[in-house]
């Protein structure tokens, strides 16, 4: 094995060597530099493999032939090796990326870059305090040099600010070091750790404080980080990448970690607090940014803050410490470097200018991978890391830390995904229309793609070393990811593969499911396959559609079979992200997709919190063990999980994302996210209730509250649906109502209630998918979703009409279709419930459903046909086909509900005290009543058939009259627009009940976001841009931390 000191020797030697070359031999110099970096990387990688694969113990590298503490020694263990590989590889890639700039500035710049990398390695390896200082100063100076690589003139000012700061830092550091030395008699970190008792009191403690502050400031904590943001913003992007990933992310943070060895746990809380504040504040401030690189800077500050938190929590993390810190650190480093590298391809600095990436699927995939890494989404290392971190925090009861982290992470995800929305949806600003914003140099692309590959590789590695099974081995996920590679195929081939895959997966996994899971599996997999039939209508390649859709379905199918909380949550995240990508594909869905994502992630974080609190450190926490959660925690766990799941089902209060998201999605996406995705939330609630049952918090029964929430959602959802002008929004609000019913049924906590919910699950899938497809088909033909602009389409689109007709009969619960079954079970269920008041709302919402249903069918298909629509054709075949399948399915389900529900009924029996239903014969009986779907159907069909036949017979000569051949107050109407009564259809109802329509919830959430943005905008004024002010802030930071620390 090559001595690791050669990393430093080669770096430095090459830097010196470059001075011998002629100024004009720039390409030679560049090649030499790359070679040197490559050799350094090779050495580091060799060591890494040595430690990781062979499990070797850390080695000490002595200098001067004298043992420490009398001479400087370096140490190389697995941590150091990982960090050095990160630093050097990042440096190498950045060097490749910066080719032009380096060649422009010549060999001196290359020397500086080499020294920069070398010094970072030095910081990582050294075990000597003063040596640490020297390497830090080298980094500072090299930074001041590398800033010149930027073409931005302002970079100079940023560099100068950094020099000012580093002056302050070196004062603190030197004073700290010398007094530490005086107290302990050594400069060696390990030596000091041995005398840590001295370091905890008096001057020693103060000295340590100064040192720690100095090193911390290099990690750029809020608020002493204005200078760093300026550098991030103005430096060459590849240098910013290096500065963020290697300098702040790896070296500075590791230096903090080393320093903390000296005093043990004494200073950990302070570091935690500083990290936490940085994480939350930086992510908050990033909300108000419009410059891409500055946003990344804030994000970087935030991520480093998060790593500091991990370091601060080292005392409770035990063996997992490196796994957690490493997961977050590496994800951050790769993602941030990758994003900075991408930013270098763009010539405009506005976030919206990134829309130039559109049309480059590879870059978009890279961007997605990077923001997923930053947001801690599976399967990336940060996901595993955060999970383990929260597990540990929950065991120790440090829940407030967890809360802050989750809040910050939510803010972070908000702006990252908002940015993603810009990429997909924003138009480039007018003045830049002609300018070439994106320039794709091959070597830069190679660098970016390397980062993507490494990121996914690490995802694999982290999965391998986690105690859970590797997420990347999950078949559905692999299937989904394979579509990233297959995306060049035409859509119809991919569609066929998808349908075949889903059906095959269902067939293969069929024996695994219990009856409850089976219902969901049928809906998710087979139901999904049916919706995909509609996707055949799309032409071309439909780039991005299949990976996203399959990611969602992968999540769904993994969710059903998940046995422990980790896999459940991972599946949950997959389906959330997949569905987000699906939703954002809609034409105007950018803001809605974002609000969907923010709410979903917020909900997901609550679920995460619930799970880890429940697990109390048990790593493979079986979902069934939720029932064994002890008393004081149980209701809180219940609360967290319930709110999390209810976000997905869009209960009133957390619903504002749904209408936009479902309405703006593409024609075949709306049924997926409405008919299928919403069920995931219900599935979660079922798992929760089945295992935790009724919980009481401060004497209030939580399921009772749920009951109210369900009823309220059903009522208000229906009510709002009645007032929509947009057909798809109407259906979306209707979904809120329907989910309210289902939630209500579950919260009744009796078997019939659950049967009702299952009934709703199945029904809602069928009819909502069908309605969304029909309405989508109509909207496709008419080019609008405003219902009042349609009308009279029945003759032109009879099949769509039939689907809607059957759909609304089913939704309304009118016999003989299957909706009635749900209502019937509902009445039986509430008979045995001990609560009565919430039913009132449900009773009220039933008839309200008629309002919107009638409006849906009337204003679209009946009434007056518009002139511009006279030549419309029926919806495309592929959109109609699934609708007809649904019609058939509804009929079958209406006739023999037992087919689906019988087994579930038996399965649920042990969980509840009351009786289920009796499925003997054709009549279904409960304790209270009976219901015979087949007889109902036959009786109605016979009566209807007889009357219809008779009418046909007597009026066989009837001919259809012209459109305006109606009696109309002695006039003949002449325009369909004035004759089609459709807009504001329920004016009288609005007069009576409109007061319930105040958008209080929307206003509330708008106020919350406004508040956050205003706050961010105010706080960031703090960064005045004046280097002197930054220095004062730094001083203030140190003093304030001092006062706090001494106070407590």
């Amino acid at each position: 094995m090559v001595n690791a000191i050669f990393i430093i020797v080669i770096g430095l030697g090459t830097a010196f060597l470059l001075g011998l070359l002629r100024e004009t031999w720039r390409h030679t110099a560049y090649a030499v530099m790359l070679a040197a970096l490559a050799v350094m990387a090779w050495i580091a990688v060799r060591w890494l493999l040595f430690f990781a694969v062979d499990g070797a113990a850390p080695v000490d590298i002595l200098t001067a032939g004298t043992a420490p503490p009398f001479a400087i020694n370096l140490r190389l263990g697995i941590t150091e090796a990982v960090l050095m590989v990160l630093v050097i590889v990042c440096g190498l890639l950045s060097a490749v990326y910066m080719k032009e700039s380096l060649l422009r500035l010549g060999r001196r710049a290359m020397s500086v870059l080499l020294v920069f990398i070398m010094a970072l390695c030095g910081i990582i390896m050294t075990r000597d305090l003063f040596n640490l200082f020297v390497f830090f100063e080298l980094v500072v100076i090299a930074t001041a040099g590398l800033i010149l690589l930027s073409e931005n003139k302002q970079a100079l000012t940023a560099g100068f600010k950094y020099l000012i700061i580093s002056q302050m830092v070196s004062i603190f550091l030197l004073i700290g070091i010398i007094f530490t030395y005086h107290t302990t008699g050594t400069l060696n970190i390990d030596g000091m750790a041995g005398t840590s008792a001295d370091m905890l009191k008096g001057a020693g403690s103060l000295a340590f404080f100064l040192m720690l502050m100095a090193v911390l400031i290099e990690a750029k904590p809020f608020p002493a980080n204005g200078w760093a943001l300026d550098i991030y913003e103005s430096a060459h992007p590849a240098f910013s990448a290096l500065f963020s990933a290697a300098m702040a992310g790896a070296a500075a943070v590791y230096a903090v970690d080393k320093l903390l060895l000296i005093t043990g746990p004494e200073w950990l809380p302070a570091v935690t607090a500083i990290g936490l504040i940085s994480f939350v504040a930086a992510n908050l401030l990033a909300l108000a940014q419009s410059s891409d690189r500055r946003t990344l800077g804030y994000s970087s500050v935030g991520q480093v803050g998060l790593i500091l938190v991990v370091i601060g929590q080292r005392d409770i993390l035990g063996d997992q410490y490196l796994y957690i810190a490493g997961g977050i650190l590496l994800s951050h480093a790769i993602a941030k470097a990758g994003l900075y590298w991408i930013s270098g391809l763009l010539s405009q600095r506005d976030l919206t200018a990134w829309s130039a990436l559109r049309g480059h699927p590879l870059l978009i995939f890279a961007f997605i991978s990077f923001i997923a890494m930053l947001s801690g989404l599976p399967p990336f290392p940060s996901f595993y890391a955060k999970w383990e971190l929260f597990m540990a925090l929950a065991v120790e009861g440090r829940l407030w830390i967890m809360g802050f982290i989750l809040f910050g992470a939510l803010l972070e995800a908000s702006y990252l995904f908002r940015w993603f929305g810009y990429i997909l949806k924003r138009e480039t600003a007018e003045e830049h229309k002609d300018a070439q914003i994106l320039s794709l140099a091959p070597h830069k692309l190679v660098v970016i793609l390397t980062a993507v590959v490494v990121g996914w590789g690490l995802a694999y590695v982290w999965g391998e070393i986690s105690v859970y099974s590797n997420l990347l081995y999950a078949l559905p996920l692999l299937f989904a990811l394979s579509f990233v590679l297959l995306d060049w195929l035409p859509a119809w081939i991919k569609n066929t593969v998808v349908i075949a895959g889903m059906v095959a997966y269902f067939v293969v996994t069929y024996p695994l499911y219990d009856p409850l899971q089976l219902i969901f599996a049928v809906i998710f997999l087979l139901g999904g396959a049916v919706i995909f039939l509609a996707s055949y209508h799309a032409h071309g390649r439909r780039i991005g559609f299949y990976p996203s859709a399959m990611l969602m379905f992968a999540g769904l199918s993994m969710l059903i079979v998940a046995e422990d909380s980790f896999h459940f949550f991972a599946a949950w995240e997959f389906l959330t992200i997949g569905s987000y990508f699906l939703i954002i594909r809609g034409k105007h869905s950018e803001p809605h997709a974002l609000s969907y994502l923010v709410f979903s992630l917020g909900g997901a974080f609550l679920i995460l919190a619930g799970f880890v609190v429940a697990a109390q450190g048990v790593q493979l926490f079986n979902l069934e063990s939720l029932s064994q959660v002890a008393a004081p925690l149980a209701p809180w766990v219940f609360l967290l999980l319930a709110i999390g799941f209810m976000t997905k089902t869009a209960v009133m209060g957390l619903h504002i994302w749904l209408p936009g998201a479902h309405a703006e999605a593409e024609t075949d996406v709306s049924p997926m996210v409405s008919g299928i995705l919403l069920k995931a939330g219900l599935f979660g609630i079922m798992i929760l209730l089945m295992n935790m049952g009724k919980q009481q918090l401060y004497g209030v029964e939580l399921t009772y509250i749920m009951l109210w929430i369900g009823a309220l959602s059903a009522f208000l959802g229906n009510l709002m649906a009645a007032f929509q002008e947009d057909a798809k929004r109407l259906l979306a609000y209707s979904s809120i109502g329907q989910m309210g019913y289902a939630l209500f049924g579950l919260a009744l906590m009796n078997q019939l209630g659950w049967m009702m919910a299952m009934m709703f699950v199945i029904n809602h899938y069928i009819y909502k998918s069908m309605l969304f497809l029909s309405v989508g088909g109509v909207a496709k033909r008419t080019g609008t979703r405003e219902m009042y602009q349609m009308g009279g389409l029945i003759a032109l689109m009879p099949l769509s009409f039939i689907a809607v007709l059957i759909g609304i009969i089913a939704v309304s619960g009118v016999p003989p279709l299957s909706g009635f079954g749900g209502r019937w079970i509902f009445y039986n269920a509430i008979m045995s419930s001990e609560y009565r008041l919430p039913m009132i709302l449900i009773f009220l919402s039933g008839p309200i459903a008629f309002l919107y249903l009638f409006r849906l069918i009337h204003t679209i298909f009946l009434g007056q046909l518009k002139d511009e629509h006279r030549k419309l054709k029926e919806a495309p075949f592929w959109i109609l086909l699934p609708q007809m399948i649904y019609v058939a399915a509804l009929m079958v389900f209406a006739l023999v509900p037992g087919l689906a529900l019988r087994k579930v009924d038996a399965y649920l029996n042990p969980f509840f005290t009351d009786h289920g239903l009796n499925w003997e014969g054709l009549t279904i009986t409960s304790d209270y009543g009976y219901w015979s779907p087949v007889s109902i159907m036959i009786v109605i069909a016979v009566i209807f058939g007889v009357l219809f036949a008779w009418l046909l017979f007597v009026n066989r000569k009837a001919q259809k009259v012209k459109q305006f051949n109606i009696v109309y107050s002695a006039e003949r109407p002449f325009r369909p627009e004035t004759t089609h009564f459709a807009w504001n259809f329920y004016a009288p109802y609005r007069k009576a009940m409109g007061f319930l329509m105040q958008p209080l919830v929307t206003r509330f959430w708008a106020a919350v976001t406004d508040l956050l943005h205003t706050l961010a905008d105010l706080v960031r004024r703090f960064y005045t841009g004046n280097g002197q002010t930054y220095a004062i802030q730094l001083l203030a930071f140190v003093i304030i931390v001092y006062l706090f620390k001494m106070e407590f």
Partner: protein
């Protein structure tokens, strides 16, 4: 005014920290662990009479390498910064009045002496107070003197750069030799330790320190030259 007051306030806080340090400070009466080791072992292990030099060049040689690199970097960056100037090399040279005869002659007389002194200081760094940095600084002062007397005097950047690089490389190479022929990187005992107090003693320390001296001299000179050339524009 408010700003000054705030600054004062925070500096008062810092002053509090400093005073706490000062009050908590009790001067050692004995050498501490590290100091004692150096006092007792330097002579026989490394053979350097000047313990500080031994520490700088060997025990904490990595620091020194870093230090030299700091100067190297600074010189490179100053060069980079000032060579990318707006009107670099284009503007007319200012007419400077000739330096006086006395000054010119005096400096011609002094420069070799100063260079000699510098060389002496770094060659004897392991024996007497002084060393590479001091020597290098003295050498650079000679360059400064030349520049002051004749601001238009042009030094060869290439030459400075070569001196700088080669001395740096040899320093490193000597350090690496330590890995193979002695106890570790930068170990000076690749050459015989010799007799305490003589010029050819203390292993590679005199050589290294001389190289440091040359390098420091070259780097300072480079900075000075770069700064002085900005005056043209």
């Amino acid at each position: 005014m408010i700003k000054n007051f705030i600054v004062l306030l925070f500096l008062f806080g810092l002053g509090m920290i400093f005073s706490a340090l000062l009050l908590g400070y009790t001067p050692d009466s004995e050498l501490n662990l590290t100091g004692r080791y150096y006092a007792e072992h330097t002579a026989q292990d490394l053979g350097a009479a000047n313990i500080v030099t031994a520490i700088i060049v060997t025990y904490r040689g990595l620091d020194t390498l870093g230090e030299v690199t700091v100067l190297f970097l600074t010189a490179a960056i100053v060069g980079m910064l000032l060579s990318t100037g707006a009107g670099k090399g284009k503007s007319l040279q200012r007419k400077l009045s000739q330096s006086g005869e006395l000054l010119t002659t005096g400096s011609h007389l002094l420069v070799p002496l100063i260079l000699l002194l510098g060389a002496y200081v770094f060659i004897n760094g392991h024996l007497t107070p002084g060393g590479g940095f001091q020597g290098g600084a003295i050498i650079a002062s000679a360059i400064l003197l030349i520049l002051l007397t004749d601001p238009l005097y042009r030094f060869s950047h290439q030459l400075i750069s070569i001196v700088e690089s080669i001395s740096g490389l040899i320093f490193l190479a000597l350090g690496v030799l330590g890995i193979f022929f002695a106890g570790g990187f930068l170990d000076n005992r690749i050459l015989p330790v010799g007799e305490l107090g003589s010029l050819f003693s203390a292993g590679a320390i005199p050589i290294i320190y001389s190289l440091v001296g040359l390098k420091v001299g070259a780097e300072f000179s480079s900075m000075l030259v770069n700064f002085s050339e900005t005056e043209d524009s």
